[in-house]
Each structure stands twice: as structure tokens, then as C-alpha cells.
């Protein structure tokens, strides 16, 4: 796998420098850390912090800015960041109104963020956290680690960020984030694997006519393999899995995200979006807002995921609020 990098061990640091140079009005890097913090931190709101392993760009640092995140912590590639870094992020954004942590449900992320939360609480900072687990490919059960968090996390950033920007208090911001998590489901598939630079080789392989269904965003194996079929058939399969878990009925309003894992061209994502809309129209479900693009990637993997979020009037309002971040902008009235 050819990569446009210098040394694998410098990729994370150089990437963060590249982001800081690209978006100096949006974000700055906390000295001696892999934490990026919003430039115009508002004095009077709940802080929203996220993060995770790197390799999912623009997630999460790309979502720093008005109406979304106040800081993001970048771990090594596909590896949760460590508690000390997360703790620095929390300290940097706390303005006395408390901080919400948006965590993707991976054992590593949950444990590292938990430790950071404990550290911050010992310093008297009020910290709440939510764990995103939108991926229906993974069986949910109280006996297991439960579902993974994937692209739906970006909608949590958007809506929790808007709630914080409106000045809502920590409890209410957390409650809102939890509503998003309760109302959204995702599922993905891959056409090709990816290679962690330090590992140097892909961690699975797929034949020229094979696809992997139910894949996460780390090159983990999915739930099963099948022959490559048409975009419509694949979309139908993912859609059915999502709806089996979270049924929708005529009159419901939703947001749709068709997320590219990295190498899949936008053209193909639009073709998939067409089918998703047709399926929803067939059910009498209205789409309030659609996101098509690369929001949560997996290094250079080819593939995509579909996310459906059921909306109510609060969620619609917050989704439509202004977001001004490098990777996601919404021009709203608030």
C-alpha cells in the first residue's frame, strides 16, 4: 500500500501540524499534546470534547468549532488516546459549566476516557459522558462490549455541540446527546481493507468479487462476506438491517448520512443516497437533512456506511443550527 507520508511514527504529529496550519482561525494545538482546541472558546457554555484513535479524518479534530466540538484528542492510528491527554483537553475547555465527553463504544476509548474523567473530577471539574453505539452490525447484549460507535458519532457532535452552543446546561446537553444515540443506527460495508502505516500490511484481504458486510472503521473483520452485487442491493441489505433494529413508520422524519470510508468516490455515495431516499419514501418517511461525504473514514479503506437518525422538533432545530468547523458547516439562523 503506497502512502503519502514521511515516517509512520511521525504521521500523527505531522497530520496535527497540517491541520493547525490549515485552520488557524478554528483551532490550535495544546503544547506537548495531541489535543486540538477551539480558538474562540466561549466563556459561557458547556464544553464538548471527543476523540479516539486517528485514521478517521476528518473525525474528530475536523469538527472543532462553533456549534460542535471544543476540543478533540487524537490517539495513535486506530488506538484510543491516553487518559492524560484527554484530561488536558477537559481542563482546557472547562469554563465552570462542565464538560461532556462524546465517546465511541470501544473498550479502549471507554476505559481511557473514564480514567480521564476520574482525573478531572478529582480536580473538581464536572464531567459527563455519553457512549455512541450506532453500529447495528454488532449484536447488542449486556454480556458483551456491545455495539461499536461509527459514523453516527458525527451527528452526536453536531447536535450536542449545538445544544451546548445554545447555552444549555450539562444535564440537558448530555440528555440531548443520549437522545441522538437512542434514535440513530448505522451499518457499513467494505470493498477493500486498509493498512495501518506502522503495521505495513493490510489486516485482511478480499477477492476481486468479494465485499465485507458489517465492517467497522478500523479494518476489523465485519460480520460476513458476500459477492459484490449492485449498489442498490447492498443499500437494501444495510437499510433492512438498520430498520430491523429501529423500525420507522410513515410520517417519521429522519436525517440520513451516507458516509464514505475513504476510497469510495462521491459519485458512488450519491448513487447509494438515491436508493436510501427511495426506500425511505417508500415507507412514507421524510428526510429532513442529508449528509453525503467522508465524515468518519478508515484510513484508505473503500466502502461506506449508512446512518439513519430519527428526529423530533428539538433535534431538527439543533441539526439546523449553525456549525462552523473545518469539516462540517451548516449555515443556520442560530
Amino acid at each position: 500500500m503506497k502512502k503519502l507520508i514521511n515516517k509512520p511514527e511521525n504521521a500523527l504529529d505531522e497530520m496535527l501540524e497540517g491541520m493547525t496550519k490549515a485552520y488557524p482561525t478554528y483551532l490550535r494545538r495544546l503544547d506537548q499534546t495531541d489535543v486540538l482546541v477551539r480558538q474562540d472558546l466561549s466563556a459561557d457554555k458547556v464544553g464538548v470534547v471527543s476523540g479516539g484513535g486517528s485514521g478517521h479524518e476528518p473525525a474528530h479534530c475536523g469538527y472543532i468549532g462553533k456549534g460542535m466540538l471544543d476540543a478533540a484528542v487524537a490517539g495513535a492510528i486506530f488506538t484510543s488516546p491516553t487518559p492524560d491527554q484527554i484530561y488536558e483537553a477537559i481542563k482546557a475547555v472547562d469554563r465552570g459549566k462542565g464538560v461532556l465527553l462524546v465517546i465511541k463504544n470501544y473498550s479502549g476509548d471507554v476505559m481511557n476516557f473514564d480514567m480521564a474523567k476520574e482525573m478531572a473530577e478529582m480536580e473538581g471539574i464536572q464531567v459527563a459522558s455519553v457512549v455512541v453505539n450506532d453500529d447495528v452490525a454488532v449484536e447488542n447484549s449486556t454480556f458483551t462490549a456491545g455495539r461499536r460507535g461509527i459514523a453516527g458519532t458525527v451527528l452526536v457532535h453536531k447536535i450536542a455541540g449545538a445544544a451546548a452552543e445554545r447555552g444549555w446546561d450539562l444535564d440537558k446537553v448530555k440528555e440531548t446527546a443520549e437522545k441522538v444515540i437512542a434514535n440513530e443506527r448505522s451499518m457499513g460495508m467494505a470493498l477493500s481493507p486498509c493498512t495501518v502505516p506502522a503495521a505495513g500490511k493490510p489486516n485482511f484481504s478480499l477477492a476481486e468479487d468479494e465485499i465485507e458486510i458489517g465492517i467497522g472503521i478500523h479494518g476489523e473483520p465485519g460480520t460476513h462476506r458476500e459477492k459484490l452485487v449492485s449498489a442498490d442491493a447492498i443499500t437494501q441489505e444495510l437499510f433492512d438491517r438498520i430498520l430491523a433494529d429501529y423500525p420507522l413508520k410513515s410520517g417519521d422524519e429522519v436525517a440520513v448520512m451516507v458516509n464514505g470510508l475513504a476510497s469510495t468516490p462521491l459519485m458512488e455515495l450519491y448513487i447509494i443516497n438515491k436508493k436510501v431516499h427511495e426506500l425511505l419514501e417508500g415507507l412514507g418517511v421524510t428526510v429532513h437533512q442529508t449528509f453525503v461525504g467522508e465524515y468518519m473514514t478508515a484510513l484508505e479503506m473503500a466502502g461506506m456506511s449508512i446512518t439513519i437518525l430519527k428526529l423530533d422538533s428539538d433535534l431538527k432545530m439543533l441539526l439546523d443550527d449553525t456549525a462552523d468547523t473545518p469539516a462540517l458547516k451548516v449555515i443556520g439562523t442560530k
Partner: protein, 211 residues
């Protein structure tokens, strides 16, 4: 009875062992995880080594605390907080202590396992590092009961951990990334159990070589 410089020696061998098995651990993780366990452990233990090189430890507890902090701050992923927690629990057992006895070793294994259970919300049989660590604790405790020598106790832990790691092959993962695979995780050894077995083997091997 082990003195501070011996413990440091054992920790050095641990770091070397991890470095030597970096690719192997990464491959195990590639099969049922995200292919970085060796990379994570090697990064963390490089900082343990740096910590050991720096020196200046007040006592065994301080030594384990500093190494534990290095692991927490540099491994990341799932294994970082877990190994970090294990070391910090060891530090508590050895608080203000200059030397370490066989009974301490058993207590460390016990408390480390308890710490991991709590932090990981996990237990034995879920195809994790606990499936190496808990059997190692039990075997060591047994050996103490039977009045075995210090080296025999260390060896008992090493053997049980290795068997436990191999035993994870037949388990269905219920915690960590491998759990997403469900039944498909069967037939693969858990990378965290494999690294735990390596860590305990390094301890036994170090003291065996000292003789």
C-alpha cells in the same frame, strides 16, 4: 526475596520480551481485532524502559507506580488502561516496600486481576487477558499453599498463564474488539492473553536466569 535492582531487571526483560514479540502480537490482533496490540505494547514498554533508565525510585511501590503511569500514558487502546491499572495495583501492594516476597507476587496477581475486572467490566471466560492472568494467580496461590519455592511459584504462574492464553482459542470473545466477531472469534488466540503470558514468563525467566 527480590530486591529493587532485581525487580528492575525483571521489568527490563519484560520490555525486551514484548519488543521481540511485537509482530506476533500484532498478527494475533489482526485476526480478531484491529492489528495494533504489538504496536501498542511495544510503544508503552519502550517508555517503561525509559522510566527504568531514568531511575531514582524511592522503593518498589514507587517503581511500579512510575512504570504504571508510563503504560497508562503511552499504550493507549484497551490494553493501556488495563496494564496500567495492573501496575498501579502492584504499586499499591508494594507501597513503601524495598523488597518483594513470593506472597506479594500472589497478592499482586490477585489485585491486578481485580483491577482489570473493574476497569474492563470483564471477567474470566470472556477471551481477554484475564484468561491468562486469573489462572496464573490461582496457580501461584496454590503453589504458595503447597509451600513451593519462590521460583516454583513464579514458574507455576508462567505455565498457567501460557496455558490460559492458548485456551482462549476455543472461547467466544465477549469483551474488546474481538467480541464484534462473535462466533468467528473462535480458533484465534486472544492477543491480550498472549501478551500477559509473555509478561509473566519474563518474570519467571529473569529469576531463573539469576540463579
Amino acid at each position: 526475596m527480590a530486591e529493587l535492582n532485581q525487580i528492575i531487571g525483571a521489568l527490563r526483560l519484560m520490555a525486551e520480551t514484548i519488543e521481540k514479540n511485537k509482530e506476533h502480537l500484532t498478527e494475533l490482533d489482526g485476526a480478531i481485532g484491529d492489528g495494533d496490540h504489538g504496536i501498542n505494547m511495544s510503544r508503552g514498554f519502550a517508555f517503561v524502559k525509559e522510566t527504568l533508565d531514568k531511575g531514582g525510585f524511592q522503593n518498589a511501590g514507587d517503581l511500579f507506580k512510575k512504570c504504571g503511569m508510563a503504560l497508562v500514558a503511552h499504550v493507549g487502546g484497551a490494553s493501556g488502561p488495563l496494564y496500567g491499572t495492573a501496575f498501579l495495583r502492584a504499586a499499591m501492594v508494594l507501597k513503601d516496600r524495598e523488597d518483594v516476597h513470593a506472597a506479594d507476587y500472589v497478592q499482586i496477581l490477585k489485585d491486578a486481576a481485580e483491577g482489570i475486572k473493574m476497569r474492563g467490566k470483564s471477567d474470566r471466560g470472556e477471551k481477554t487477558m484475564l484468561d491468562a492472568l486469573i489462572p496464573a494467580y490461582e496457580a501461584a496461590a496454590d503453589a504458595v499453599q503447597q509451600g513451593k519455592s519462590a521460583q516454583e511459584i513464579l514458574n507455576a504462574a508462567k505455565v498457567a498463564a501460557a496455558e490460559g492464553a492458548v485456551g482462549t482459542e476455543k472461547l467466544v470473545a465477549q469483551k474488546g474488539r474481538a467480541s464484534y466477531l462473535g462466533e468467528r472469534s473462535i480458533g484465534h488466540q486472544d492477543p491480550g492473553a498472549a501478551s500477559a503470558a509473555l509478561v509473566l514468563a519474563a518474570v519467571a525467566d529473569y529469576f531463573a536466569a539469576e540463579k
